[in-house]
């Protein structure tokens, strides 16, 4: 299989930077305008790639912070169409890769192929669908492959080596390893156990490895460095946004990487 475009980007970028940073926003939260400004701050602060979450009413895998962002966005009228429009603007304005994060029903209702075609058309490079195990994802995987887009699957501390292998085979671009059990946005202990787990992940896939769930400080990034390719900071940026407003985002990202 030829190397996927997102994977290429990550590998190239890694040549200059020992740990990339992926951040996360919920499209339409706190508003569509603010979303755009947040992305701008992040890119300017040196983020390497970003997850854009299309809000869903039942975000089963998300913890309280992202959950609230999802439902606030929806109650302010975040339609899928608008998310696409905003994503298109973002992709056009900023020169890093963006991936979608959303739940499967958003694709399904839109029509899976149509959804992937449109993603491709606006230049989104991959997607994370946390409630779509590869067993359920045939149509999706085929469509993603057609467009050389990256279906990103998730490794967990519970995943067996065989399961990791299977997930890796069905993925492209990178693997998203969650640092612990649970949902987004809770505390994670960065310990030896986590190191062992990351070594296991590393052994199971040749794709770039992103580590997420509970990553939120300079120290966390130090811990991850050398064990994974990408650190994912998700809920924490939303917390910062809520606490300090859009202007607080850039300093936070800079401090992380300082």
């Amino acid at each position: 299989m030829p190397e996927n475009k997102l994977e290429q980007y990550i590998r190239q970028r890694r040549e200059h930077k020992d740990l990339l940073l992926m951040t996360h926003i919920v499209l339409g939260y706190p508003s569509f305008d603010d979303s755009l400004r947040v992305v701008e701050s992040m890119v300017e602060a040196g983020v390497d790639l970003m997850e854009l979450q299309i809000p869903f009413s039942e975000p089963m895998a998300d913890g309280p912070v992202i959950l609230k962002a999802n439902s606030d966005a929806l109650s302010h009228g975040a339609r899928v169409e608008k998310s696409f429009e905003l994503a298109e603007q973002i992709v056009q304005r900023f020169d890093i890769p963006f991936v979608f994060m959303t739940y499967y029903n958003i694709l399904f209702r839109h029509g899976v192929e149509k959804f992937v075609d449109e993603m491709a058309a606006i230049g989104i490079q991959g997607a994370i669908i946390p409630d779509l195990p590869p067993e359920e994802g045939e149509e999706y995987l085929a469509a993603m492959q057609r467009h050389d887009m990256a279906p990103i699957h998730i490794f967990t501390p519970n995943s067996s080596d065989e399961r990791m292998q299977l997930l890796s085979e069905r993925s492209a671009g990178m693997i998203y390893a969650v640092a612990r059990k649970g949902v987004t946005g809770k505390e994670t202990t960065f310990s030896d156990d986590l190191g062992d787990y990351l070594a296991r992940c590393r052994a199971a896939t040749s794709l770039p490895l992103a580590l997420g769930f509970g990553v939120k400080s300079h120290d966390d990034l130090d811990f991850i460095r050398g064990k994974a390719d990408i650190a994912v900071v998700g809920s924490e940026t939303i917390r910062v946004l809520e606490r300090d407003g859009v202007d607080g985002v850039a300093p936070f990202i800079e401090a992380l990487q300082a």
């Binding site: 869903f56 039942e58 895998a61 209702r109 409630d131 195990p133 059990k181 649970g182 809770k186």
Partner: protein
């Protein structure tokens, strides 16, 4: 994953990756249990010593006389311990939890019935227990919360989303993805990711097994029709499954028609045209959702039917025509309940009363030589606040106001 669990185009297991081993373990344990005749025997034994299985099939001569037509038999799931068919499912899953060596159970609850049943099971089995319940439901259903707490369960009000049943399900999954090692999630109805729909239906099939034997014994032949209300679909699956191999028995599922057609007015996924196929809460079925796939508000006088999705097995039985689906409006439901109380001394839960509505509409047209069965999935006396509000009893309101005065004084 062991099995994708599809029923035609419905079902599946759309689960977070972290739960894959947990579902594999659950499915394995469930398959083993199904294959082990001793397990079912233990289950039946438990249900007949701890609850009162076999629950009776009651012939209702007064209602039959009232409507003319076929003889009305009522399957009495209301007599179960904790007052509803929910007991069947939770006790079965309790045995399975023990078999898997887990020590903690969690559950979602809307009306509170399933929460009370789960808390009861946990007390009996000695499990720790956490119940997720939408904050709105906690406020509305305090009596059930009260009993859950007495049983030693922790009841956590869910303050996210619409703060009702579906949000409680999401929250239970969030707990599960954290605590799967020692925790089993006791899902309350025949929905959710595989193997839940099959598993819950299997435990509930005890209803239909008994009912089939009982009607043959009492009436000498199979019924013409069998009616059950449909929330998630577990009591309906329980009754109907007894008659799947009897094509002459028409199966009728009755959903919450609420205030009538139109999104937000009801919870009819199959009988009305407002639902469409989607994937949420881990499975694929008809949901009441918008074009984007966002779940929409639902309404029913009965909290237990007030849910956006429906059993994927029932969705397939809808599409292949084996089960007919109808809807009963709030108003019809209260009337049917009042009539049944008045004429038979039975107090069907508002949920169950949906089945009664449709049966009452049709039974007069059937042959008096024939019989029908209605599933009385639960009793209404635990829902007195809801029922009193539904019938707008002024004396009840006075009583509550006086009681509140009393509490205020000594507060």
């Amino acid at each position: 994953m062991l099995n994708r669990g599809y029923y035609d185009r419905f079902g599946g297991a759309f689960i977070p990756e972290i739960l894959v081993p947990t579902f594999d373990e659950l499915e394995q344990a469930f398959n083993d249990a199904q294959a082990d005749p001793a397990f079912w025997q233990e289950y039946v034994e438990l249900m007949s010593t701890y609850s009162c299985r076999a629950t009776p099939l009651t012939r209702c001569d007064n209602l039959t006389g009232h409507f003319g037509g076929a003889q009305i038999y009522i399957k009495r799931e209301d007599l179960n311990h904790t007052g509803a068919h929910k007991a069947n499912n939770v006790m079965g899953q309790g045995l399975l939890t023990k078999r898997m060596g887990k020590t903690r159970v969690i559950a979602e609850t809307g009306a509170g019935q399933h929460g009370v049943a789960t808390a009861t099971m946990a007390a009996k089995f000695g499990f720790d227990c956490t119940i997720y319940m939408g904050e709105l439901d906690v406020e509305r259903q305090r009596p059930n919360v009260f009993w859950m707490e007495r049983m030693g369960a922790e009841v956590i009000p869910v303050t996210d989303g619409s703060r009702i049943l579906k949000d409680a399900i999401n929250e239970a999954f969030r707990d599960w993805v954290t605590n799967m090692d020692n925790t089993h999630y006791v899902l309350g109805t025949a929905c959710g990711p595989h193997p839940f729909p099959t598993m819950v239906s299997w435990f509930q099939s005890i209803i239909g097994k008994e009912a089939r034997e009982q009607i043959l014994e009492a009436h000498g032949k199979l019924p013409r029709r069998a009616y059950a209300c449909v929330g998630g679909g577990s009591n309906a699956m329980g009754l109907f499954s007894g008659f799947f191999d009897d094509p002459e028995v028409e199966l009728v599922g009755v959903e919450a028609g609420g205030r009538g057609h139109g999104i937000g007015e009801h919870a009819s996924r199959l009988a009305y045209d407002d639902a469409s196929i989607g994937i949420a809460q881990g499975y694929k079925t008809y949901f009441l959702q918008d074009e984007d796939g966002q779940m929409q508000d639902t309404h029913s006088v009965s909290a237990g039917l007030d849910y956006v999705g429906v059993s994927p097995i029932l969705a397939s039985l809808h599409d292949n025509g084996r089960v007919r689906f109808e809807a009963a409006t709030d108003k019809e439901v209260v009337e049917a309940m009042e009539l049944t109380v008045r004429r038979e001394g039975l107090i069907p839960a508002l949920e169950s009363s949906h089945g009664f509505v449709q049966a009452f509409k049709e039974v007069g047209d059937l042959d008096p030589q024939d019989a029908i069965i209605i599933n009385q999935s639960g009793r209404a006396d635990k829902d007195i606040f809801t029922v009193a509000d539904a019938v707008k009893d002024p004396k009840w309101e006075e009583f509550i106001i006086a009681k509140a005065e009393e509490y205020r004084k000594h507060a």
